[in-house]
């Protein structure tokens, strides 16, 4: 356990040079200046490999699937050299009681120091009964595990913001990690799933420099500082007013902007447009589909993936509601006019009476 990250590199047959290369590559991934690579190397060389506990609750394992496809730093690299992954029920060989015992032991040993990675939302409904493993509900499990954690990384939109389980009508009373744990630093790494390199990059960043700068959603600014729209290669088409109107028209074939087809890039903060996916191969917009906004809270409940951003989100019957408003307005208008008419008539009658009646006395002299 007392081995440093550099020791682990050496033990795994990697040279110091490989270690420095790793630091340089990670620093560039994190968009850090070259000097930061040296600082990172210095820090990691003396940092003890931290224990990492990876807990999964209401989730689909997509986040872990994504993470295992990280190419820089790779998950193997991370696990063999940077961290000591003490528990992950999907990746580990052990199962059942043996796995639980190993987890408890690892947590006890690194109590107060381990990094807790959580993916999945936490159901609070029915006393937490919707997600129970080894006789313990997710919410109790998380509360306990969080107490011994130095920091928590909430991986995926479910852990960060509630995600799919949290979507209306949220039958299980799912909540994000931040609503269960309030006294530990939490880094939200949102996305459905998050970009693999963002997940591994955040872990390495935390090991090197501690807590990263976060946006107001608790996401690292390095990766979530810009919107997809701001970095989108189709942006010039948006500015020129060239849009695909359907998924199969000339605009779509020419690769024009997908705004009209519901792209949520303008309000979505993530690194897809720059880091891309599958070793920088592509990302949804490049494949011809608008951004779903999966790294944003409540992205399931924003009125529909294919509704353009400025369109109304409410699914109210437009014709009926506005027709009713028009009718109501017309009725009030007729009423107001009728009132005005009767006043006019009353005034006319009054003035007619005044004209016909004899003039008041004091006015009776001739003029």
């Amino acid at each position: 356990m007392d081995e440093t990250i550099l020791d682990a590199f050496r033990k795994n047959g990697l040279s110091r040079r490989a270690f420095l290369k790793f630091c340089a590559a990670t620093a560039s991934l994190l968009a850090l200046p070259p000097a930061a690579a040296a600082a990172m190397a210095e820090k990691l060389a003396t940092t003890l490999r931290p224990t990492v506990i990876y807990l999964s609750y209401q989730e689909c394992t997509g986040c872990l699937e994504s993470m295992t496809r990280s190419f820089s730093p790779t998950i193997e690299h991370l696990m063999f050299n940077n961290i000591s992954l003490a528990f992950n029920d999907t990746l580990q060989a052990a199962a059942g009681e043996a796995a639980e015992a190993a987890r408890k032991e690892a947590m006890r040993k690194a109590w107060g120091k381990y990094i807790l990675i959580v993916d999945g939302a936490v159901p609070m409904g029915a006393g937490g009964a919707y997600c129970v493993a080894a006789g313990q509900s997710a919410v109790d499990d998380l509360r306990h595990a969080a107490q011994g954690a130095a920091a928590i990384i909430a991986v995926g939109t479910c852990a960060a913001f509630g995600g799919v389980p949290y979507a209306a009508p949220n039958p299980t009373g799912a909540v994000p990690v931040s609503e269960v744990v309030r006294d530990r630093p939490i880094i939200n790494v949102s996305g459905c799933p998050p970009i693999p390199e963002v997940m591994t990059g955040v872990v390495v960043y935390y090991l090197s420099f501690g807590m990263p700068a976060l946006d107001r959603q608790g996401r690292p600014l390095t990766f979530y500082g810009n919107t997809i729209h701001d970095r989108c290669y189709r942006r010039p088409f948006y500015d020129e007013g060239r849009f695909a109107h359907t998924f199969d028209d000339e605009g779509a074939r020419n690769g024009w902007c997908l705004y009209e087809l519901g792209c949520k890039g303008p309000v979505t903060y993530n690194a897809c447009a720059t880091l891309k996916w599958n070793q920088g191969t592509s990302f949804p917009i490049q494949s011809g589909h608008g951004c779903l906004g999966c790294s944003e809270p409540d992205f399931w409940d924003k009125g529909g993936f294919y509704r353009p951003l400025p369109a109304a989100t409410g699914h109210w019957p437009r014709g009926e509601v506005l027709g009713g408003a028009a009718l109501g307005g017309a009725v009030v208008g007729v009423g107001a006019a009728a009132l005005a008419r009767s006043r006019q008539q009353a005034a006319a009658a009054k003035s007619a009476k005044e004209v016909n009646s004899p003039p008041p006395k004091e006015d009776s002299h001739e003029h």
Binding site: H229, Y238, L309, P310, T313, G314, A325, G329, A340, R341
Partner: protein, 221 residues
């Protein structure tokens, strides 16, 4: 969970719905209320056969000042035109606006490049400022201006400004600026029928009716 896009969701959802209902309700109230009003019967002999034609003509002839007034007001009339045209360009030319209109009415048309729109928005803002300065300094105009004029000015100015700020990401995150932009435009829509801004619709009727009455009496309109 409170989120950064809550405000935007509110603007795109309930606030938009409420603003549209108030707009339609209020506009029908005003319009029907005015049209159904009793007009004193004109007992004079009509001087022309189809006075309503004169009414329609007036809608157009009043679009430009009479020769006598030109030296005094033509430049401000021009500024006002610049403002109205650029505002129309911004409202009807920007694709997000068109998509919103399409969503509500089903009508749509091609959009303009955003460069054209942002330029027009800038022109509209500057001309609005000039018109406000004119209103505040002109002795007569100042006297006949009331809260309605200044508040309506503000409600037109704010969506233009926040729209530009959102586009250029000035002074905040895009989703916040967009939400503020939408909310300010919704306030404008809700205020419109009950203020002098109702001239967007009522100008046709007031000119038409005045023109009809005048031409019936043989007056030049």
């Amino acid at each position: 969970m409170s989120t950064e896009t809550d405000l935007l969701d509110f603007a795109r959802g309930p606030a938009l719905e409420a603003a549209l209902i108030i707009l339609v309700f209020g506009m029908f109230w005003r319009l029907v209320g005015v049209l159904v009003l009793r007009r004193p019967r004109d007992l004079s002999e009509p001087r022309v056969r189809h006075a309503w034609l004169g009414g329609i003509r007036t809608i157009f002839t009043r679009m430009w000042p009479r020769r006598e007034f030109r030296p005094r007001i033509l430049h401000w009339e021009a500024v006002s035109y610049v403002f109205h045209f650029s505002l129309a360009l911004v409202i009807l030319g920007l694709l997000p606006h068109i998509l919103l209109i399409r969503d509500i009415t089903g009508l749509s048309w091609p959009g303009l490049p955003t460069g054209v729109i942002t330029f027009a928005a800038g022109v509209a803002l500057i001309s609005l400022l000039a018109l406000l300065a004119h209103r505040a300094t002109h002795p007569v105009l100042r006297q006949i201006s009331n809260f309605d004029d200044y508040f309506s000015w503000l409600l037109v100015f704010t969506p233009l400004l926040t729209g530009l700020m959102a586009y250029y990401h000035l002074g905040g995150r895009y989703e916040d600026l967009l939400a503020v932009h939408m909310l300010s435009a919704e306030l404008l829509l809700a205020w419109l029928p009950f203020s002098k801004l109702a001239h967007t619709v009522l100008f046709l009727f007031s000119r038409g009716v005045t023109g009809t009455i005048y031409s019936r009496r043989g007056a030049q309109t």
